[in-house]
């Protein structure tokens, strides 16, 4: 048997292959204005159907007892044929001599708006279909508004069913003038208006004699003029961080260059927080040689010169062209979910790879999508299929851009429960220090509830926890504890260090170093840590705590009250600790000046199953500290079910 296991490069043929890149078109408009018919017609008239497809559909139609229609070509599923309504985004390719297309069959039925948004969000161009007889209907407006929010700028308006209005030019002109006025309010200027008939195939691929008065292009001719959207190449760098991999000793930052470009050696600043480093390398598996630069659209993996605390969600930029940063955004929002979106109920906002709890703090106005006039009164809630201007407040600072500046990082979705419920684009952003503004909004009312551990956690944006750092004197506990506190503090996580030495100056001043006193010392530290964690703090305990039983006791104290507890073993060999001897204690112990010194004259019982073990003699302090910080951030994260329950409560479900 012969297999291509060691593939040799096959010789390329002389045939020049067309690019398989496609222009993505969305076809929208009011229900029954003829979208599916137009699509079927485009397929048929460009000879793009597989052999026998028309015959197959004719037979299927007969089986259903229906007359053949072009619309059936797309309605792949049974019930669609039965109901005569297209239910979902279907993507089907067709070819012309010039290039390839994909039609996204966006449905017009009101129920299925979320599918239309799904399809239209990735389209290069749109055909807005209007029935010449019925003129502008509700969805003709709603869909146009959504196209404007989704940022689609290449639009042709197809005035369909001209056969039903006797091919009269004045009817076409009336529709054109009405719709032009409406679209103008949205900032949409269609490139073409085309009178046509999908059913009869008029003005589809070329000019038809019945509509000879029309001097512009036929539908397909109009489409051929549109461009495939290319990512803009003149925008500043936005590197959206997806994950950090540590498959080996390196920290690899994986993400996508949404805009701009990135070079090895350049300075890169991560937002929010503005942490800066330099790009050390761009990693690429199976590359002949490592790349030195990466361009817009690429999914890349990079390493940094200097280890800084970055995490999923961060946006990397060049030093002088960073995104805005803040807790408040002004946005236009469309809502697709059955359950309405009320004020002051927490939801998850996702922007790029950031995911943050947020709420509506103000609904400036809700627009009637038919008239685009603001609804009367202050609704205080956004219902399904409505669009609104809102102010949103996030629990912690996020990085973002104004949508008209950089759309990739200027738009977001809202997740309630477990599903995407809607999306929005950011209208305003202050590209400077926004802390003053955020401070001014501090007085806005939040739902007041009895203060529980959960509500404290909600308020802090994280839960309280106890990290118990145990290890020999000189193993690195204090250094790591202070480093960790600093990192947590910078991330807005409330934390505090309980240090063994410090406690002995006050709370434990009456205790000595006998086994009994040591136990009591640990018990007091443990109880104090529990109280502070209960209050919502991440408590970093830095104590030698040599005895297993004492540490287990603290674990029990915490776990009894449901406080997350993690034993962190700071592991360094005795000889290393003794060589470090930062406070000269080992020297004194060896000289007999300190009695019962752990490791020398008193035993240290290493943890049997610590939640985290850090070997400080084998890894750099930077890497160890990053591991500890990641661990602490995860430990303090509010678990998902709690958020879900809170959502349920807030929504009054």
């Amino acid at each position: 048997m012969q297999t291509t296991l060691e593939p040799t490069k096959v010789p390329t043929s002389d045939i020049s292959l067309p690019t398989s890149q496609k222009l993505r078109i969305v076809i929208v408009g009011h229900v029954d204005h003829g979208k599916s018919t137009l699509i079927g017609r485009l397929f048929h008239d460009t000879n793009s159907l597989p052999e026998g497809k028309v015959e197959q559909i004719r037979k299927a139609s007969e089986l259903e007892g229906m007359e053949f229609e072009f619309a059936f070509l797309l309605d792949a599923l049974l019930e669609e044929q039965a109901q005569n309504i297209t239910i979902d985004t279907t993507q089907l390719p067709f070819r012309t001599e010039k290039r390839e297309y994909v039609i996204i069959d966006a449905p017009g039925h009101k129920e299925f708006l979320k599918n239309m948004v799904t399809g239209a969000a990735s389209a290069d161009a749109a055909i807005l279909l209007i029935d010449a007889n019925e003129g502008i209907q509700e969805q003709s407006k709603r869909h146009a508004y959504l196209l404007s929010l989704l940022g689609i700028r290449q639009i042709v308006v197809a005035v369909n069913k001209m056969d039903l209005v006797g091919y009269r030019q004045e009817r076409f002109e009336k529709v054109r003038s009405d719709y032009t006025e409406f679209l103008g309010k949205l900032g949409i200027v269609p490139q073409h208006f085309v009178p046509m008939s999908a059913k009869l195939g008029l003005n589809i691929t070329q000019a038809s004699p019945e509509l000879a008065w029309h001097k512009g292009p036929a539908i397909l001719e109009a489409l051929e003029q549109f461009q495939i959207s290319a990512p803009p190449d003149d925008l500043p760098l936005r590197f959206v961080l997806q994950d950090i991999y540590r498959f080996d000793e390196r920290r690899i930052l994986a993400g996508r260059i949404e805009t701009g470009s990135l070079q090895v050696g350049q300075e890169i600043v991560f937002w929010p927080d503005g942490k800066s480093s330099r790009v050390k390398s761009i990693e690429e598996w199976n590359a002949p040689e490592p790349p030195t630069s990466a361009l817009v659209g690429e999914s890349v993996a990079i390493t940094l010169e200097e280890q800084i605390f970055v995490e999923r969600g961060d946006i990397g930029s060049a030093p002088d062209h960073g995104p805005a940063e803040g807790r408040e955004i002004h946005a236009s929002l469309f809502w697709l979910q059955n359950d309405p979106l009320p004020l002051n109920v927490p939801f998850t906002l996702k922007l790029g790879t950031q995911s943050v709890e947020a709420r509506l703090v103000e609904i400036t106005r809700v627009l009637d999508s038919s008239t685009l006039e603001p609804l009367a009164g202050n609704p205080g809630i956004i219902h399904k299929n409505e669009v609104a201007d809102v102010r949103i407040r996030a629990r912690k600072p996020i990085a973002f851009d104004r949508h008209d500046r950089i759309s990739e990082t200027g738009r977001f979705v809202i997740v309630t429960g477990k599903r995407i419920g809607g999306g929005g684009i950011i209208r305003e952003a202050e590209y400077q220090d926004e802390k003053r503004l955020a401070g001014a909004a501090e007085n806005l009312t939040w739902t007041v509830s009895p203060v529980t551990r959960e509500s404290r956690a909600e308020n802090f944006g994280h839960r309280g926890a106890v990290l118990w750092l145990t290890g020999l004197s000189g193993s690195g506990k204090s250094t790591l504890a202070t480093g960790l506190e600093y990192h947590l503090h910078r991330r807005g996580i409330f934390s505090y260090i309980l240090d063994g030495d410090n406690l002995r100056h006050g709370l434990c001043a009456n205790l000595g170093f006998s086994a009994e006193d040591r136990s009591e010392n640990i018990r007091r530290a443990g109880e104090t840590a529990r109280l502070m964690a209960e209050a919502g703090l991440v408590v970093i305990c830095s104590l030698i705590s040599p005895f297993r039983a004492d540490r287990d006791n603290v674990r029990k104290i915490c776990q009894r009250d449901g406080i997350p507890f993690a034993e962190v073993f700071i592991n360094a060999p005795l000889d290393v600790c003794e060589a470090r001897d930062p406070r000269g204690l080992y020297k004194k112990a060896r000289a007999g000046e300190i009695k019962e010194f752990t490791g020398i004259t008193s035993p240290y019982e290493a943890p049997l199953a610590p939640e985290l073990e850090l070997r400080t003699a084998e890894h750099t302090l930077d890497n160890t500290l990053l591991d500890l910080t990641h661990f602490a951030v995860e430990l303090s994260r509010i678990p998902e079910p709690q958020i879900a329950e809170e959502l349920a409560r807030g929504a009054g479900i």
Binding site: P50, A60, L78, T89, E298, I420
Partner: protein
């Protein structure tokens, strides 16, 4: 970036989102061309390491050449490979009163029992919360309606009538207990893109895709690979990737025309997929 670069970048982005979002994901792998592209993209996404297990649902009707390829690839790519057979169905024990096979049953039934049910069994055993699949929109109309991240309920059913919206690269990543997500990084790839990418990257694939002489003197190749009793080759002289691509540009036969289970009855594919088939 050319079109293939764009497809690759998007697939890599999706794989990384999946790896971040799910704690216990798995990648079914058929050894077919799309499946091998997925392996390749995984290598690219994770700098040479595939950080999730790869699952082969072995129907016991595999072409020997495919099994040989499986063993080669397991070593070559250092795969954490799970091989799953619905042993009960083949042996006619447990909930089965008789052995299920192509000798005795129709292709839709066999495909359901030996692929979908086997997948359900391994899901129950391993509690995977997401599956990375290699399906593409252009393969079949029912697949055209898919999302990149597509939820399945505990019964494996796909609620295609009420799918969550998906736009701006924001995906459905939260699941209810018992649900899982189908992650479909190749959704936007066309058959010809797969071939162009295999050619560009020099990705090893089974040679059954290339034309070989048949008993009647004509040349045949497999365009899509499945169980041997129900997978027929198509007439073709394409003996290398360039020729396959050239052939695809003029053909009007659908890719899965050689796969009997799709055509056994009207809407067979829809029925299979609604019950959990990929």
């Amino acid at each position: 970036m050319d079109h293939l670069d764009q497809l690759e970048a998007q697939s890599v982005y999706i794989l990384r989102e999946a790896y971040h979002s799910f704690s216990n994901l798995c990648m079914p792998w058929s050894m077919g061309k799309d499946s091998n592209v997925l392996i390749w993209l995984s290598k690219k996404a994770f700098c040479g390491k595939i950080p999730y297990p790869v699952l082969h649902i072995d129907t016991t009707y595999e072409f020997p050449e495919m099994l040989e390829f499986r063993e080669w690839a397991r070593k070559e790519y250092d795969l954490d490979l799970i091989v799953k057979i619905n042993e009960d169905a083949r042996a006619g024990r447990g909930s089965y009163t008789q052995s299920v096979g192509y000798e005795t049953h129709d292709p839709v039934t066999v495909t359901h029992e030996l692929k979908t049910v086997a997948l359900q069994q391994v899901m129950a055993e391993r509690k995977f919360d997401a599956l990375i699949t290699g399906i593409r929109r252009d393969e079949d109309p029912t697949r055209a309606k898919e999302r990149y991240f597509s939820p399945r309920n505990a019964e494996f059913e796909w609620d295609y009538k009420d799918q969550p919206p998906e736009f701006w690269n924001q995906f459905t990543t939260a699941i209810e207990p018992g649900e899982h997500i189908r992650v479909q990084p190749l959704l936007d790839w066309a058959e010809v893109d797969i071939w162009r990418y295999i050619e560009r990257e020099n990705i090893p694939i089974p040679t059954m895709y290339f034309a070989r002489p048949g008993e009647d003197g004509k040349k045949y190749r497999f365009r899509s690979l499945g169980c041997w009793p129900i997978t027929k080759p198509v007439e073709s002289t394409a003996s290398n990737i360039s020729e396959i691509i050239a052939e695809l540009l003029v053909t009007k036969t659908s890719e899965r025309a050689g796969r009997a289970q799709d055509h056994h009855e009207r809407n067979a594919m829809q029925k299979l997929r609604a019950k959990g088939f990929m």
